[in-house]
Symmetry: C2
Subunit: 481 residues, 2 copies
C-alpha cells in the first residue's frame, strides 16, 4: 500500500554515518513506522513493522512464559491510587496524561493514563496475596503506556504512546528472593537480546538514577551507532516500599502478617529501535533470521524466457515454505539488480538465486545479506543449506555488534579523557561509588554515569577522579538517549 | 495466586437459571475477570482468562491474516481530527473520554481516547492512498478502546475500557467492492463463531440503528441464556462518506481523482462473554477444545498407593503433550471427586482417568465434560482417541447451542405476541421495512428491531403489524444487551 512512497524515496536513504537522518528515513522507506500521524510523539506501525514487532515480542513471551503468566490490567488509574506512593508520583507527575472528562461531564476523580502500572496492579495484588503459599507471583502484561514527553520525541525511542511496553510485576516473600528475581530478569533480558544479536551491558544504576520508589535499579544498555547508549531494559527491586503503600501482606509460616517484597522489570519497543539501528546498513534494514518477516527471497536469473528456471524457483520456494521458512518468490518483471535492491532494503537475510547454469548443475546460489558472500549449494538440500546460513548470519551479526560495542568502550583515567571519549562511545573510569563524587563526575563531563557494570567490565583498579581514593570499581559513562 | 479465593467461593456458583448472578460469580471463581478494580467499568484479566482470550483471538487473526494485514495506530486522536465527521461525532460525543492535561500543563488541543479508530486511521489512509493500484487496503488492529458508559456496566459486555477491540478498516475503488467486503466480513465472523461453537444471526440493522457515518450496518447477534440478544460483531459500509471528510482519493485508470469507498468491521471481548455464557453450565466453565487453556486433565484413580498407575498417568500426559495437546496431570492428594469438581469448573473439555483395572486392561476411561459420557479407550491410541473426543465435544456444543437458539426464535403475528415472546427469546414478525412502522413497532413493544436477517430467517409472508401491508420480509425483535 505504501509501495508508492517507497518507490519515490528509493534513492533517498542517507548513509548510516549520518545516523539520525538514516534512522528516520529508514523507518519510513523500510515501512516500519509512519511518522506522519498528526500528534507529536505518536507514530503508526506499518504492517511490515508490526510483523517485526510480533516476531520480536514472541521471543520475550517465549522466555517469560516458562515461569510467568500473562495478564491484562486497566489503562486508567484513579488519581487517588496513583497518588499513594510519594516517591513514585514525584518521579512521574510531570509526565502523566490526565483524563478529566467523559462526554460532556467532568469526572469526579481524574484518571491517569498509566505511565507504568504499579499503581494499577498493586491494589489487585493486595486482594490476591493472602498467604505465603500464594507466593511468588510472576505476572506480565504487554500494553500501551503514556508519557507526556516535553523533550524531543523520536520514533521507537522517545514516545508519548509507548505502544509495546512489556512490564513484569513479581511478589516474593523475602527481600533476598526479590533480589534473585531481579538477577533472573536481567538474565532473561540478556538472552532476549542475544536472540536479536544485540550486545548488552548490565549495570546497577546510581542511587540518584533509580526507578522512583525502588530500592535499586539494574539496567540493560546497548550502544547505538552514533555513540550514545540506549537503555533497552530495566529491572527494579522495589523492596517492600510499594507493599507498605498498597498494603500487600501475606501470612507467613508462623501465622504473622508480613509485608511482601516486589520487583518489576520492563522492555519496550526500544528493543526494535536497537534491532534496526545496530544491524541496518547503507542498503537498508537487516534482520536476524528469527525476526525477519521474510527470511529468504528466491529470485530467478533469466535472460530471455526460461520456464525451467521459473519452475525450479517456485519449487524451491515451496520446499522452503514447507520447511517452515518465511519465503518470498520474486517473479516480477524487474531486472535482478532492482530486485536485489528492494529485498536488501527490506532486510531479508538470505537470497537464493537460480539461473540456467545453476539449474544445469542442480545447484542454487545463496547470498548472505550481512556480508554479501555468495556460495553455491545443491538444490537437493536447499532447506538445510538455507538454515545453515540463518545460523551463520545470526552468529556473524552478534559477533560484529559485540565487537563494535567492545571497541567503543574506552578506559579513561581523567575526566578530560572521559569528556573526549563519550562523543563516540562509552568511557570506563574508576569510581569510588560515593554519591558526591559521582555527581561531580557527571557535572564535569556533562553526561551520566550508567553505573558499575556486572562482571569483568565493572572491575579494575585505579583512583576515583574526584576524591582520589583507590577503588576496584569501574563505572561507565556515556551520552544517553 | 487467586487459588485462595477460588477455594472459598467453591460452593458459591449459583444455578445458571439465575443467569446474571451465575455469570458474575463464574467470571471470578473461574478466574476469567476480576471485577474488583477500583474504577467502574474497568476489569482485570486473570492469567487464566487472558489465556482464553489469547486462543480466541488467535482464531480471528488466523482468519484475517489470509488477506488482511495487522498494524497499529495511536490511541489518542486530536480533537480537530475527531470532530471532522459530523454524523460520527454526533454518535460518540457523549461517550468520549478526553485527555486535557499533560503533567501540570493544559494541552493546546484536547485528545480523544479512541472509542473506535476511523478518525485515527483515515488521516493516514489519505496519505497512503494514491492510485487504484494501492487498492484494496485491508488492515486490522487489536487494541483497547474507551467509552464513557453511563449505563450499567458489565464485564466483557459493557465496558469503559474495551480491552480487545479487533477493528478492520478497508479501502476500495468502488461502492460495490466495499459491499462485497462487508459480506466477506460477516462470512469471516460467522466462521469465527463456528470455531467457538456459537450460533449467530446476521441481519441488516435498521436505518436508525446503523453506525454513525455509515451507509448501512450488518450485525452479528447471538442469543444469551437469559433471552436477551448480544451483538457480537458488526460490519459497516461507509460509502465514500469518510473518504470525503478525510479526503481519501485515488487516481483511477482514466487519470481522474476519485473518492475511495470504505468499510470497517469489529469484534470485541463480547465474543468471550458469549463463549462463556452459552457453553458454561451449573458446574462452571465449558470450553470448546480449540480455545480451552487446558484441553485434557489426566487423573489417577488410586485407592492407597500405586506407582504403576501414577507412572501410566504421567506417561499418558507425556504422550498427549508430545501430540501438541494442552494437558494437566493432577497428582495432588485430593479425592478424585474433588479433582473432577475443580477441573470441570475450569472448563476442561476432556478428562482421562486411569485406575488399576484400566491399567490391567491397557485402557483409560475418557470422560466428556459436555455430556458426562464415559468410555474406555485403548492406551496405545490415546492421543487419537482424545482428539476424536475434541471433535465430538465441539460438534455437540455447536449442535446444542444452535438448537437452543432456533427454539427460542418464535414466529409472531401481533405486537402483543412479540411483547410476550421477547421476555425469553427472539420474536420474528413481518415488517414492511418502512421507518415509521419500525419505530412504531419498537415503541409498542419496548424493544428493538435487530433487522431483517440474511437467508431463510428473514423471508416469509405476512402483514406488517402497523400499516397492514403485505410483506415477505421478516424482522426479528428482542431485548438486547
Amino acid at each position: 500500500m505504501a509501495e508508492k512512497q517507497t518507490e519515490e524515496k528509493k534513492s533517498a536513504l542517507p548513509s548510516k554515518s549520518n545516523f539520525s537522518e538514516w534512522y528516520n528515513e529508514l523507518l519510513l522507506v523500510g515501512e516500519i513506522m509512519d511518522v506522519r500521524y498528526p500528534v507529536k510523539g505518536l507514530y503508526v506501525w506499518f504492517p511490515f513493522g508490526f510483523d517485526v514487532r510480533k516476531r520480536t515480542y514472541a521471543i520475550i513471551r517465549e522466555l517469560l512464559d516458562k515461569d510467568h503468566k500473562e495478564a491484562l490490567f486497566p489503562l486508567l488509574i484513579p488519581e487517588t491510587e496513583f497518588m499513594k506512593e510519594a516517591e513514585h508520583i514525584k518521579g512521574f507527575e510531570n509526565e502523566v496524561y490526565w483524563v478529566t472528562h467523559g462526554g460532556k461531564n467532568e469526572l469526579d476523580v481524574r484518571l491517569a493514563m498509566r505511565p507504568t502500572s504499579e499503581t494499577a496492579i498493586y491494589p489487585m495484588y493486595k486482594v490476591w496475596v493472602r498467604s505465603h503459599a500464594d507466593l511468588p507471583i510472576k505476572i506480565y502484561q504487554i500494553v500501551n503506556t503514556f508519557r507526556y514527553e516535553t523533550k524531543h520525541t523520536r520514533p521507537l525511542i522517545r514516545l508519548r504512546e509507548i505502544t509495546s511496553f512489556k512490564e513484569a510485576h513479581t511478589v516474593h516473600a523475602t527481600w533476598d528472593e526479590a533480589a534473585e528475581q531481579v538477577k533472573e530478569a536481567t538474565r532473561i533480558y540478556q538472552e532476549f537480546y542475544r536472540r536479536l544479536a544485540i550486545p548488552t551491558i548490565v549495570s546497577k544504576r546510581p542511587e540518584w538514577d533509580k526507578f522512583p520508589g525502588a530500592d535499586y535499579t539494574m539496567a540493560v544498555d546497548t550502544l547505538m551507532p552514533d555513540g550514545k547508549t540506549l537503555q533497552i531494559g530495566t529491572a527494579h527491586h522495589l523492596g517492600n516500599n510499594f507493599a507498605k503503600t498498597f498494603d500487600i501482606k501475606y501470612e507467613d509460616l508462623s501465622g504473622e502478617q508480613v509485608y511482601a517484597h516486589q520487583t518489576c522489570y520492563g522492555i519496550s519497543e526500544r528493543s526494535i529501535a536497537a534491532l534496526i539501528s545496530i544491524h541496518g546498513d547503507d542498503k537498508g534494514l537487516l534482520f536476524p533470521p528469527e525476526v525477519a518477516p521474510v527470511q529468504v527471497v528466491v529470485i530467478p536469473i533469466i535472460f530471455g524466457k526460461s520456464d525451467d528456471v521459473m519452475k525450479a524457483c517456485s519449487d524451491v520456494a515451496e520446499v522452503l515454505k514447507k520447511d517452515g521458512i518465511r519465503v518470498a518468490l520474486d517473479t516480477s518483471d524487474e531486472r535482478p539488480g532492482a530486485k536485489y535492491y528492494r529485498w536488501e532494503m527490506k532486510g531479508v537475510p538470505v537470497r537464493v538465486e537460480i539461473g540456467p547454469r545453476d539449474l544445469k548443475n542442480n545447484v542454487a546460489t545463496i547470498v548472505r545479506r550481512d556480508n554479501g558472500s555468495k556460495e553455491t549449494a545443491p538444490l537437493v538440500n536447499i532447506a538445510e543449506e538455507v538454515r545453515k546460513r540463518f545460523g551463520a548470519v545470526h552468529e556473524s551479526l552478534l559477533e560484529k555488534s559485540a565487537k563494535s560495542l567492545k571497541e567503543r568502550i574506552i578506559d579513561c583515567k581523567t575526566l578530560e579523557e572521559v569528556k573526549d571519549r563519550i562523543t563516540t562511545g562509552i568511557a570506563r573510569i574508576p569510581w569510588c561509588g560515593e554519591r558526591d563524587c559521582g555527581l561531580a563526575m557527571e557535572e564535569a563531563v556533562g553526561a551520566g554515569i550508567l553505573g558499575v557494570p556486572e562482571g569483568e567490565l565493572g572491575r579494575g583498579a585505579g583512583k576515583c577522579p574526584v576524591c582520589g581514593r583507590g577503588t576496584e570499581n569501574m563505572a561507565i559513562m556515556a551520552k544517553t538517549y
